[in-house]
């Protein structure tokens, strides 16, 4: 035998041993899907709807938990008369059948809005409202669309008169707030007035006495407060994931495998591990309600969104914020506003949305730039540079094609109906 024929044999033996070693390692390392370690089970528990904290109080709104306020809020939420053309209610964009979104990339009402319509399900837990957090309560948020020329396009004087001119609304308002202001004197209270872009309405507003402006603002704020009382009822019900979590957390892995497919189980593992999704989409609502720049590209034709850096400035200046004179909170109760952070990381940062109910809430991201879940997952796989600011999720996930499909399969298990009685999801029956 010569050296030449021996060498390949050594190589062959070496190759076989390497393969055998790899196989042994793989067998040792393999865990069947659904056999969760303790630390993974505690992560699953942290996402389980059952562990959601009770709905936090809304100290700036004394009627937030008042059922009578929620009933009036429901009527106002669906009332088209609260708009410049009499055709656009809150529900025009926040459609209950789409989990209170509109299915569009960017909202369209009287005009075109800058951003995607967010769901209101679960927002009672969110310290900040809007993609950039430019409001700090549901009630102050709900006032903005009423006066936004691209949305309901009205003004606060028109709105408060419209509401109190309805005898049924006036009766309910008086029962809730124990007062019924009189705006019938048109020399003090013009038909249309409100600060903003419309020069006539703005001039009429500036010409009003401070105490009359205060009277109007108080009713205007109260209208927001009853709408908040209604919106706080929109909480998610348990999804298929929650049934799975309940099964595996009670030690019933077999039941778990009946509820979840293999792909969904593997998708959950990716969600908690390699996908790094839980860095922001954490807790039972799958969001930390915090602001992050994740390098989502600008909408074609738009400048990059400055996000939270502008939103923080706006919420601090907003007269209807938690520290303002229309808030029912003491200063010590406005913790989020008082201790909000500044900083360059807020440039291009937008609020983490919940991942519950993704099937009904496409397209995604702040301008609806991302049409499908597959595209969204692909975005984090590619981790592009941010156009402004810095992409916090800058490390490519390197998910393989089958892993992307598994992650998507898991995300779709988070769908569920709204836990509120269905009669809340439509305009109230006329009496």
């Amino acid at each position: 035998m010569n050296v030449n024929s021996r060498l390949p044999r050594i190589l062959k033996i070496f190759g076989i041993s390497v393969i055998a070693l790899v196989l042994i390692l793989l067998v040792l390392a393999y865990r069947p899907p659904g056999a969760w370690r303790e630390d993974e089970l505690s992560l699953i528990r942290s996402l389980w709807l059952e562990t959601l904290s009770p709905l936090p109080a809304s100290p700036s709104n004394q009627v937030a938990a008042d059922p009578a306020a929620a009933r009036l809020g429901q009527a106002l939420f669906f009332d088209k008369r609260l708009s410049a053309n009499g055709e656009i209610s809150c529900a025009f964009c926040h459609r209950p059948e789409l989990r209170f979104t509109d299915g569009l990339d960017k909202a369209r009402a009287l005009g075109s809005s800058r951003r995607n319509t967010p769901s209101i399900v679960g927002l009672g837990w969110s310290p900040w409202l809007y993609w950039d957090g430019r409001r700090d309560s549901l009630w102050s948020q709900s006032l903005s669309p009423l006066e936004d020329p691209a949305e309901q396009g009205s003004n606060r004087m028109f709105i408060v008169r419209q509401v109190l001119a309805d005898p049924e609304y006036a009766r309910q308002y008086q029962a809730i707030f124990a007062e019924l202001p009189d705006f019938s004197d048109t020399s003090r209270f013009p038909l249309n007035a409100g600060p903003g872009l419309d020069p006539e309405w703005d001039a009429a507003w500036q010409a009003m006495r401070i105490e009359d402006q205060y009277m109007v603002n108080t009713v205007f704020a109260n209208i927001g407060k009853v709408i908040e009382a209604y919106e706080r009822l929109m909480v998610p019900s348990p999804s298929r994931f929650d049934a799975y979590a309940e099964a595996v957390l009670s030690g019933n892995a077999d039941l778990g495998r009946e509820i979840f497919s293999n792909d969904e189980i593997k998708g959950l593992r990716l969600f908690m591990g390699k996908g790094r999704c839980m860095e922001c989409h954490n807790g039972p609502l799958f969001t930390n309600f915090e602001f992050h720049n994740t390098g989502i590209l600008s909408y074609p034709g738009d400048l990059p969104d400055r996000g939270r850096i502008d939103g923080l400035r706006q919420v601090r200046a907003n007269p209807f914020n938690c520290l303002g004179q229309y808030s029912d909170a003491s200063a010590g109760q406005c913790q989020e506003l008082t201790y909000a952070r500044d900083g360059v990381e807020l440039i291009g940062a937008l609020k983490t949305p919940s991942l519950r109910n993704l099937a009904d809430t496409a397209p995604y991201m702040h301008k609806g730039q991302v049409r499908t879940l597959a595209e969204a997952i692909d975005h984090y796989n590619r981790a592009p540079f941010a156009m402004i600011g810095h992409n916090e999720a800058e490390n490519k996930l390197r998910l393989l094609p089958f892993e992307k499909r598994q992650l998507e399969a898991f995300l779709l298990t988070l769908d569920s109906s709204i836990a509120a009685d269905p009669r809340w999801l439509e305009p109230p029956a006329k009496k």
């Binding site: 790899v22 793989l26 390392a29 309600f289 008082t338 952070r341």
Partner: protein, 140 residues
């Protein structure tokens, strides 16, 4: 095929190192009420969280108690607060502030942790020119 195997092996390694990190982090995290010495030993700080256990995504306050090396309360010191997750290179989600009290007590308000994992809170204490830093580790 080989790349898939390689990937799986890598995933295992990743998970393994993650678990090791997690365990390591847990071993340094201490229960509320423990006290922490400053880097140069000038101060000791203990805290009591308003939220017990501390959980993510809820704004809350901590009661701090500061003493000197001999255990005497340090009252009226300037305390600057910073914090963040060293592994993720980011700071706190909020800008907390200190309200001084009596007898070495201070109220630390406006804390909210927005991610699970290992956090550090850095308190820079300045008491009449004596300056030192305390690191409080915390795993959520």
């Amino acid at each position: 095929m080989m790349s898939a195997l390689f990937n799986q092996a890598r995933t295992m390694l990743y998970l393994l190192s993650y678990a090791v990190l997690l365990l390591a982090a847990q071993s340094v995290s201490a229960a509320a009420g423990d006290s922490y010495s400053s880097k140069n030993g000038r101060f000791r700080v203990s805290y009591q969280s308003q939220l017990n256990p501390v959980v993510i995504n809820q704004i809350h306050a901590w009661q701090l108690h500061v003493t000197d090396a001999d255990g005497r309360p340090v009252t009226g010191a300037d305390i600057a607060v910073k914090g963040g997750m060293p592994a993720h290179n980011h700071g706190l989600a909020t800008s907390p502030a200190i309200e001084p009290g009596d007898n070495g007590d201070y109220l630390l308000q406006g804390l909210r942790f927005h991610m699970m994992g290992y956090w550090e809170l850095n308190l820079t204490i300045n008491d009449d020119g004596v300056r030192d830093e305390v690191v409080i580790p915390l795993t959520l």
